[in-house]
Amino acid sequence: MTLKGARERRVHTGGVELCVAELGDPQQPTVVLVHGYPDSKEVWSEVAARLADRFHVVLYDVRGHGRSTAPRPLRGGFTLTKLTDDFMAVVDAVSPDRPVHLVGHDWGSVQSWEFVTVGRTEGRIASFTSMSGPSLDHFGHWINARVKRPTPRRLGQLLGQGAKSWYVYLLHTPALPELAWRGPLGKRWPKILERAEKVPAGDYPTASLPSDAAHGAWLYRDNVRARLRRPRPDAFAHAPVQLITPLGDAFLSERLYDDLDEWVPRLTRHTLPAKHWIPRTRPHQVASWIEEFVTSVEGGRPEPKATGRHADRFGGQLVLVTGAGSGIGRATAFAFAEAGARVVAVDRDAEAAVRTAELSRLIGAPEAWAETADVSDEQAMEKLAERVHSAYGVLDVLVNNAGIGLSGSFFSTTTDDWRKVLDVNLWGVIHGCRLFGARMAERGQGGHIVNIASAAAYQPSRALPAYSTSKAAVLMLSECLRAELAGEDIGVTAICPGLVNTNITATARFTGVDEAEERRRQQRSARLYGLRNYPPEKVADAVLDAVTRDRAVVPVTPEARGAHLLSRFMPGALRRLARLNPKL
């Protein structure tokens, strides 16, 4: 298999011949992609295609892999020094005058750490993006630090990584790995990847896999023991580094990078909920982080604007929030903006949505847009989805927040009241999940849907029959959707805030009373909620936490959490509470 539209050349160095492919305009900044084990440069095909219209993309097969030739003899032919020679030869051939932006995955990243920390490459590397591959030197120091001071936590980290490295021990056995890869393992590998790692089937892995994997075993045998025993004390990076850590990596603990700031000044960190092979499973996210980092380095690397708590997780992601003109929606939009996400603020009130978008840009969102739509209007939502998908892209996070309040006894609630509250609170969520969730699933690169339900979803009350019904429906919808979308790596969360100080009380409808009384009750409930004074910002923080941890149901305020506990263990108590008619 070759990469579509790639120009190929052969580079001779140190007795081997490397196969180098180039895409894109050579006048643009050069991005060199280095593959891992057991892979060939084709692992990058999805990422490379996305980078090619902005950059000069260069990929090469590491010696002994793909269509590059293997050194003779194999033993001693894969040392990091020789791999650095190869890299220099490729860079001199493809970008003789300008430093290149280096990107490595797995063993590609391990060797790239060597490139970026040895003296002779200084000035040849403009930046380095590392994925799932630590520097062996840093790794060695990491182990030493934990062996020397084995606190329980550090010991746990050590043992955890030790268990994750089982395959490294196997690869050190003679001949066995070669036999396995050239035999049954090589044949079954694509299926294993698909099942265990969720790597989409297709033209990857390539036919050269058995020999790649057999030769590549020498990467481990030639370097791991030597480096871990005597890690270099001077392995400081001489170029800016961006670290992308998949949180579900089966082979590498995220704790490995805890001490990385010692070796890299101003490290840029990103995390994403995915398994090891992110160039295959998350090409969109990976390409956009590479593009962002390369562009920022080319532009002198200004200080990052977004400094929020989850900036590593949401930086550059596309987030849409409905009902973003006030209350929890607005606070959520701001929290995502602070974490560096691109924000689409949707509200019925155009002016309020514009305001949210403006302030979002001010506090860290690289881009923010305001859209006007009524979530209960199916056609308006369809148009919104079309506009968002064509203009901004597929969402990474959807927050269905828009909702209205309705209070009053069941018999004073008219069918119109019912329709109104269900249209906004339930149908609004259905439209959001249907229109945006479908595209998320279709893209196949994960995502998250957050539905703002309510503590009323599990706390019955004679005062809120319609509202509670709508929110209970949202809660169950979220749970069902979570089950359905689990296979697509899309998380679904229901947030149950409780009494939060927002203007939902001031706009709520009270049935069965005249207008003056309704206004009085609105003011009175607004005052009560004001006295409770639980800020929407805390709910927004809970939303971001819930997305990062992929939680299913999140009650937020203490009373919401208390009621949630009661609903499980003492539902009778809740039923008795439900009979109370709160005096307003």
Binding site: S326, R330, F334, E338, A352, R355, T356, L359, L362, I363, N503, P535, E537
Partner: protein, 280 residues
Amino acid sequence: MTTAVSSELSAELRGFRRVQRLAYECAEAVAARLEPGVTEREAARMQRDWLRERGVRDWFHLPFAWFGDRTAFVNFRLPLQFFPTDRKLEPGMPFILDMAPVFAGCTADIGYSGSLGVNPVQDRLMADLEAHRELILREVRERRPLREIYQDVDRLMVRQGYANRHRAYPFGVIAHKVDRVKARRFSPHLFGFGTQSLKGLAADALHGHREGWSPLWSPYRFSDHPPRPGLWAVEPHLGFRGTGAKFEEILVVTDSRDPEESAFWLDDDLPHVRRWAEAK
């Protein structure tokens, strides 16, 4: 926005305006001297020294300085947290200087917001404070109850996307009355507040309690009365995700029937007002 022309100002108001201007000059002078590494304590001391050199001997309250997220009173629970700390100023950080000198018997109470270098968030907050200055004057002229005006300011803040931070002040006040203070040779202060001024405030509070008004303009029931003639130091304070901004200046309320005469800002030639005019 209209203000009674200076010639019409009584000698007494001219005295108040002089000390308010002096205080704002102090704020600008100190702000110009702030640099990375200066602490809140040092900034407060600089204000105190500057004003003492120019004859200020008594205070309504001692100068405050807040840096960084302390401008928005993040995590303030105790009144002691208002006092200056050893927080150091860093480039881009917002700051607020707040001082209330007494000079020749007249009190000023001002708040000055700024930042070391550029801070777009605080710029935005300051620009949005203009609407609050207009709203407060308009509704005071309409003789709306102070509590309702407070709630309208609150609503405007929420619509703008900000949090009400004057709520953190003692009694959650957006404003308080200031008055003449007798010059005494010995004028100690208590928890940062001048005893002479506290005495005046307490006397007002006592009178007000009997007559149904309060020298503190708060969201509570005791502020449910039309504006009381006198001088009010008004201090709307906006907060937005760890950045705060305020202004504070004197609003003159009279018992005149002419709306324009019934309430006006003591001085329209202040840094924040000039800034808004320049932006237009």
